[in-house]
């Protein structure tokens, strides 16, 4: 996961100071600079990196947006945002210095002249601040804005990499809404930037525990020999949230849980759990293995979609004792909406390792608690010696968020003269063992993009393969005949009973969270 070894000329003074590739001085141009993502995530992440001394001093941030404002207006706006959302307290001395590296460029995304003047401004910044022609373009805008921005970046020559410098583009999800649109989006991107220049961000992969999956699997000799169909009964991946659409109804209505979460985050997690060991830790070596997992996902027929996928939508209910409205009563939501806010799936990865190991996924809004985790359910031990009634399987749980950690459930004898067996849990909590807070996912990912490490970013073929799989389900849902039902579940419940039946008919049940 680091490319330090790939750099042609290594700074000898860096040896031993950092185990990761060093970010290069660059200009970070944020399209959609006045938006929510910039306020909540991007600018706090950049500030924290600067305050921790992780950013080269020359790094310069240029906010690009439509609204007219001065550099100072923008700096003040960003200061307020960073003070509100940063994980560490903002110090005036550091902010004052950091603010000097922030600029605002006002232009409409469709205005060619705005991009030409941006190019001139970046050249000036290169000379004045030593950003050396390196540019990182961050698309914190809706996908409908991608094409004009990309076109004008190319028109202004900003996609070109001068000798010894680079230009990269970071794209936020959604990477299309189906295979066709994803291919079209990739085509549009590739008209201006090569695949090597393109970084598709999935913030789940920036989380410490997601990265730890590879360490858990491949740095511990005890797990990998068991990590296959011979010893594993099934896998479960859950991404539950208590929140509703929270002002994202416009996007969510057209997306739903399957497109919003499964196509990207959950399939990415599945890839990390199910992939073969890569030959090395280079970005493409890891991504080569990940994409093989998606390719091996068993494609379903329409009938199989009806059997193996449960879609549902929340109705009125309560979260933490507080009443919440039904999805169809949320602002900007069609009162007859058929959008899925919950999906449960049974998948199969048809390869040697995972043959006959079902993978159950569920994702939903307005569930009783927010938690994302992967659980590996091992096969039961032969119960020749002990009572069959007490036989529980071993479960290895990888908690992605919150309370990141790993736990292993095993059987133990209860103290006493009788031979009673009960499950006990060995638990590793990141927060308990390491007092140091993990950096925010965006911090890690921004640094990676600045240092040219694409390991934690999705590659074109991964995205397209994932859509190819998801499209089959979406097509079945939109079919005119034998359309699978959209079930309802009360907000604050764990989804419709059909989701439980999905496992119950295989003699299994969802892990209680």
């Amino acid at each position: 996961m680091n490319r330090a070894g790939e750099q042609t000329e290594v700074n000898p003074l860096r040896e031993g100071l950092s185990t990761r590739a060093v970010p290069q001085p660059c200009s970070v141009v944020i399209f959609g600079a006045t938006g929510d993502l910039t306020h909540r995530k991007l600018m706090p992440a950049l500030y924290n990196l600067g305050a921790d001394g992780e950013l080269p001093p020359a790094v310069t941030v240029i906010g690009f947006a439509r609204r007219p404002k001065t550099d100072d207006d923008f700096r003040k706006e960003m200061e307020d945002a960073v003070k509100k959302f940063s994980r560490q307290t903002v110090r005036d001395e550091i902010w004052k210095n950091f603010a000097q590296s922030i600029f605002y460029h006002q232009s409409d995304f469709s205005d060619e002249a705005g991009f030409k003047s941006l190019a001139q401004r970046l050249e000036k910044i290169d000379k004045e601040r030593g950003t050396r022609g390196n540019r990182l373009f961050y698309f914190a805008v809706g996908p409908d804005q991608f094409e004009p921005i990309l076109k004008h970046l190319k028109g202004a020559g900003l996609n070109k990499e001068a000798e010894g410098s680079w230009a990269r583009v970071i794209i936020e999800k959604p990477f299309g809404s189906d295979l066709k649109s994803a291919r079209e989006l990739n085509r549009v991107i590739s008209n201006s930037f090569s695949e090597e220049q393109t970084y598709r961000i999935d913030h789940f992969l920036g989380k410490e525990t997601a990265q730890n999956i590879l360490v858990l699997r491949f740095a511990n000799a005890i797990f990998e020999p068991l990590w296959n169909t011979r010893y594993i009964d099934h896998l479960q991946i859950t991404a539950a949230e208590t929140l509703g659409v929270e002002g994202r109804a416009g996007y969510y209505e057209g997306a739903g849980a399957l497109r919003d979460m499964v196509q990207n985050h959950l399939l990415q997690l599945l890839c990390l759990v199910a992939m073969e060991a890569p030959s090395d830790l280079r970005a493409d070596s890891i991504r080569d293995e990940k994409v093989k997992v998606v390719r091996c996902l068993r494609r379903m027929t329409q009938e199989e979609v009806a059997t193996n996928v449960v879609r549902a939508q929340y109705t009125d209910g309560a979260i933490n004792g507080k009443p919440v409205p039904a999805y169809r009563k949320e602002e900007k939501v069609d009162p007859k909406s058929m959008t899925d806010t919950f999906v449960a799936l049974k998948l199969n990865v048809d390869n040697w390792r995972w043959w006959d190991v079902p993978i159950y996924m569920r994702v939903g809004k307005r569930l009783p608690k927010s938690a994302t985790e992967i659980s590996v359910h091992f096969k039961k031990a032969p119960m020749v010696l002990f009572s069959k009634e007490t036989n529980e399987a071993n479960v290895l749980v990888i908690r992605i968020q919150p309370d990141e950690g790993i736990s292993l459930r095993m059987e133990a004898k209860m103290p006493g003269t009788s031979f009673r067996i009960e499950p006990v849990k060995m638990d590793f909590h990141y927060g308990t063992s390491f007092g140091k807070a993990s950096p925010e996912a965006y911090e890690r990912l921004l640094l990676d993009a600045m240092s040219g490490d694409a390991t934690l970013f999705a590659r074109r073929d991964e995205v397209e393969e994932a859509w190819a799989f998801i499209d089959i389900i979406e097509n079945a849902w939109s079919a005119k005949k034998k359309t699978p039902e959209l079930y309802l579940y009360p907000a604050g419940s764990w989804g419709p009973e059909q989701a439980d039946e999905l496992l119950a008919r295989d003699g299994r049940s969802w892990r209680r969270l």
Binding site: P12, R14, D52, P57, N97, R132, G435
Partner: protein, 359 residues
């Protein structure tokens, strides 16, 4: 569970009852408390009052490094044997604030001939399977028990306070050899240089700036009284990483290196009150690279300037000289310290016999 005040050694117990007392400490607990431990951290000192002082340090270190702490205070001068032991726990709330995470501490006061029992005392109270980090706060004596080194994974010390760098380093390296190179040597004086090294290194991250290495003419380092050894270690690091060879050994704060092309690099070390490492200036033929403590104290101001290049100072984090911060930083670092060992070799060549104390 009775949780001790940070300065208190906790509950006094018989040495034979330590395990039982620890068990009782946890079984009497109320509320949600979790015992956590990633390492065995043994702290050794012969300074009077060290047990209380180190207990205070451990209570702060444990906030970010869950461990089993073994705090050892030794008085070799006493003629009578005395062994006293205490147990206590340092608890903190998790970031979520929902439960308390606790580190347990066992304190030992050893006086008289029984100090020879140190290894057996340490070995019998380790949390099994966890690595042993030994923080040795004094000069190393000539006669060390080789048994001890066989168990230590990381040896932490601070060369800044050593009375004789060459002798002490020889003892440390002997220990490392006795442990068949398994021990990682961790010098807090080296950790003290981390942020300054970061600040200097970042000037040369871009390959376009690498030509300055071959054009380096001089290095000036200001250091606070008592921190000459830190300054010398910094210079040793530059020399080791840039392949400079000693041309003139250190004398009254001056020395000289030759680079690979036999070009001279003059080094000036100047004592000046302030941060342990004050202003550091590297001059190449065309550019001056400066790292200086900022006025606010805990930041560094870094800048480069030249004939056609005005200085644009930037802020970077600075190193505090707080032993807890140094330890916390050191404990976060894994792996061997090859770069440190190379820097030490350069320091050896640099120090003339007269100034071998490094201070």
């Amino acid at each position: 569970m009775p949780v001790a005040e940070p300065y208190s050694l906790g509950q006094q117990v018989e040495i034979a009852n330590i395990a039982g007392a620890l068990k009782k400490l946890w079984s009497e607990g109320e509320g949600v408390k979790t015992r956590a431990s990633l390492i065995n951290l043994a702290v050794y000192s012969e300074k009077p009052g060290s047990l209380e002082r180190n207990t205070q340090l451990i209570s702060r270190i444990a906030e970010s490094h869950a461990c089993r702490a073994l705090v050892i205070g030794v008085n070799r001068e006493s003629k009578e044997n005395r062994v006293e032991t205490w147990v206590n726990a340092h608890c903190r709330l998790t970031r979520a604030g929902s439960k308390q995470i606790c580190t347990e501490q066992i304190s030992f006061l050893l006086e008289g001939p029984c100090v020879k029992l140190l290894p057996s005392i340490v070995f019998s109270h380790l949390d099994s399977d966890l690595p042993l980090y030994l923080w040795w706060q004094d000069d190393f004596p000539e006669a060390m028990d080789p048994q001890l080194w066989a168990w230590v994974d990381r040896l932490i010390f601070d060369s800044q306070g050593w009375t004789n760098f060459a002798t002490q380093m020889r003892l440390v390296e002997t220990a490392e050899q006795e442990a068949k190179q398994r021990i990682v040597l961790c010098d807090l004086n080296w950790t003290r240089l981390d942020k300054v090294r970061y600040a200097i290194a970042q000037f040369f991250d871009h390959p376009a700036s690498h030509h300055h290495f071959a054009e380096m003419e001089s290095v000036t380092v200001n250091f606070a009284p008592g921190f000459k050894s830190t300054a010398i270690l910094l210079v040793g690091w530059l020399a080791a990483q840039l392949n400079w060879k000693t041309n003139q050994q250190e004398m009254n704060g001056s020395c000289r290196f030759l680079d690979a092309n036999n070009q001279k690099i003059d080094i000036e070390l100047r004592e000046k009150p302030g941060a342990p490492i004050g202003d550091v200036v590297l001059k190449s033929q065309s550019v001056k690279f400066c790292v200086a403590p900022a006025k606010c104290g805990d930041l560094l101001e870094v800048s480069r300037s030249g004939e056609n290049e005005a200085a644009k100072p930037q802020m970077m984090p600075a190193q505090t000289n707080d032993p807890v911060d140094l330890m916390t930083q050191e404990l976060l670092r894994g792996g061997p310290h090859h770069v440190f060992l190379r820097a030490v070799n350069c320091v050896r060549q640099l120090l003339s016999p007269r100034s071998a104390s490094g201070d």
